[in-house]
Amino acid sequence: MNETALPNYLQEGTSLGSWLLTRDHKRIALLYMFAITFFFVIGGIAATFFRLELVTPKGDLVEAATYNRLFSLHGIVMVWLFLIPSIPAVFGNFLVPLMIGAKDLAFPRLNLLSWYLFMAGGTIIIGSAVLGSVDTGWTFYTPYSSLYSNSHVVAAVTGVFIVGFSSILTGLNFIVTIHKMRAPGMRWGRLPLFIWSQYATSIINVLATPVLAMTLALIALENLTDLGIFNPWKGGDPLLFQHLFWFYSHPAVYIMILPAMGVVSEVITCFARKRVFGYNFIAGSSLAIAFIGFMVWGHHMFVSGQSPYAGLVFSFLSMLVAVPSAIKVFNWTTTLYQGSILLSAPMLYVIGFIGLFTIGGLTGIFVATLAIDVHVHDTYFVVAHFHYIMVGGAVMAYFGALHFWWPKMFGRMYPESWARLAAIMIFVGFNLTFFPQFVLGYQGMPRRYHSYAPEFQVWNVLSSAGASILAVGYLLPFIYMAWSWKYAPRSGPNPWPATGLEWQVPSPPSKDNFSGIPHIEDEVYAYDQLFGKSDEPHSAPS
């Protein structure tokens, strides 16, 4: 515990310029954190309005047109300005160099540029919202977004286009850093699983996002110049848009969930006080998900008029992609087996993740089944499915990561009992919000309408009630985290304690992370060495 004399990265200048022009990956991570927290609030406010609207069957709070704009804003902001950047841009930025023993990412200037691109795109998107937003949903389906567009589609897609470049560049930075900047002894087989998940995510970012960029460019041109390539009157095909869009956007759902899975792997071994079970399988399944994820986009188009044979193949491949996800869940649960489990806040979030992700994944199998999807497509069933994964999974993991690495980032503990309360409220609120939507969807309530048949009201009221619990659950961390920033007790370098390189440097770390070049002699998850117990009798001292 040599608290070296080096100033930590937060003390390296406090002027605005020292933040806005920083090239330190840790400061850039914090810049992202502030930005996406802001966007999360905006997306949440939009959701508050339409959950209020849905308390009664009649459309009485907002008009249909306003409602469309609200859910579009909500989706666009949550997907592109919160979920996609969330764990990679904040925790990936902060942790990738620390975890592999490097001073910074390979291209620090590019990293700062990525943040500026992100902010520019985000500003344009929010600007388009102020002007009156779009009414296409986050999916920008043609012809809503082209022939019949009556909203600010061009501005919105331009914003998303620019944000896309920011994720491509971040992905590029991570790939090169992980390949070229590992400290001596940090072999691939010793990389933390969080790094593996970031690596898989970055591959998707680099390969899929450019397709989205081209697609959005075409949409913008279609609006600006009456391009016609998605317009049937000119011989164009609107389905081509769906193919191109989902070719990106299905892999994009893995951009959201893979980093979350990385967080789960780190936290669960730490709080089970055990070596992770099946390291190779967890690492390999990240790559498998990234790979298979590119071949299943057609499952969003079962009822769009694609050929039934294509539907059959896409259905089969979609079930295949559930296999590596299941492998991870099994490995995590086995890691818990006979561990000495500590239910601190990060662990509560992560256990919540496993439960909710499992429900989300299993209902993914439902909707990947052709016959069932014909019934539930475009109903609240699908809404519930993806919220279980994106909110129950990715957002839970984001909050788990926030609590787990908070002491590292700021050198202070968060207040544990408040944090546990928030975690439990989020879990309960979440289930109350979204479980009723499975029922609603199964009963046939379509998504994206501002009024509905009266017999659906009970479930909708439950859902809105849950949403208010959820909102309070999300609000709590804002308050106590802000408090802990100044007033909480100092945490020391390794409060949990955890293995892993990032825990061996002071909290907060110094600007260059390490005082020398670290040498790695052991695997990352040597928790049995840390706590002197092993339940794998044959585990050779590695």
Partner: protein, 225 residues
């Protein structure tokens, strides 16, 4: 990136040879090269999206696409293909010059590459304006049959994005030329930059190698099987 770097070094001769996040110059070079390859992979997907769109529509409307393909200026297109290929050769010479610490060769090859690239853009621009004048322009109301509009629009977008890449290449070449002209030797950061610029330029060339037969030569475009 290298420009700022070399400025630093010009004013401060004791500045370290590599940027602070690396442990050695070799690592910095390896990172720069890897970064370029990853970037180009991303670019392949970018062009891949619109190439697929073109192939799909070519498959749907083979006669229309054949008809409009024939209306393009084959001679100028072929000439441009030759010009770009030659420019790839001069770019190879530029990289060679940088590797041999041969400033004169580097500077001269950059000039040739720049000129060839500029002539390419000039010819392409002339083709565009001729097509626009003759009414083979989407939205002119004279395109018949109307699926021809799809061919033309994809043609303009594809050559437009490609031309944009050439233009960016020209800007980078200019920057590198100025940087080299101001110095008496070629520091390693600049060598890496030259090599990466070479990779980029060849990539832009290869994109054209795909574009040219697809747009100008495909009598009846089909999917490759």
């Amino acid at each position: 990136m290298p420009m700022i770097n070399s400025l630093e070094k010009a004013t401060n001769p004791t500045a370290p040879l590599h940027e602070h996040q690396f442990v050695a110059l070799e690592q910095q070079k390896a990172a720069a090269t890897a970064g370029m390859w990853v970037f180009l992979t991303s670019e392949i997907m970018f062009f891949g999206a619109i190439f697929s769109a073109f192939l799909i529509y070519g498959y749907l409307y083979p006669e229309v696409f054949a008809h409009f393909s024939q209306k393009l200026h084959l001679l100028l297109g072929s000439l441009n293909t030759g010009i770009l290929l030659t420019s790839s050769w001069t770019m190879v010479m530029a990289v060679h010059g940088a590797q041999q610490q041969n400033r004169r060769l580097l500077l001269r090859s950059l000039v040739f590459t720049f000129l060839l690239g500029a002539v390419f853009l000039g010819i392409k621009g002339y083709e565009w304006s001729a097509e626009i004048r003759s009414g083979d322009f989407p939205g002119s109301g004279q395109v018949n049959p109307r699926q021809g509009e799809i061919f033309l629009r994809l043609y303009f977008i594809m050559t437009g994005f490609h031309g944009l890449h050439v233009l960016i290449g020209l800007l980078l070449i200019t920057g590198l030329w100025i940087d080299t002209a101001r110095k008496t030797n070629i520091p390693s950061s600049q060598l890496h930059f030259t090599e990466n610029l070479g990779l980029y330029w060849h990539f832009v060339d290869i994109v054209w190698i795909f574009l040219f037969p697809m747009l100008y030569l495909m009598d009846k475009p089909r999917l490759p099987w």
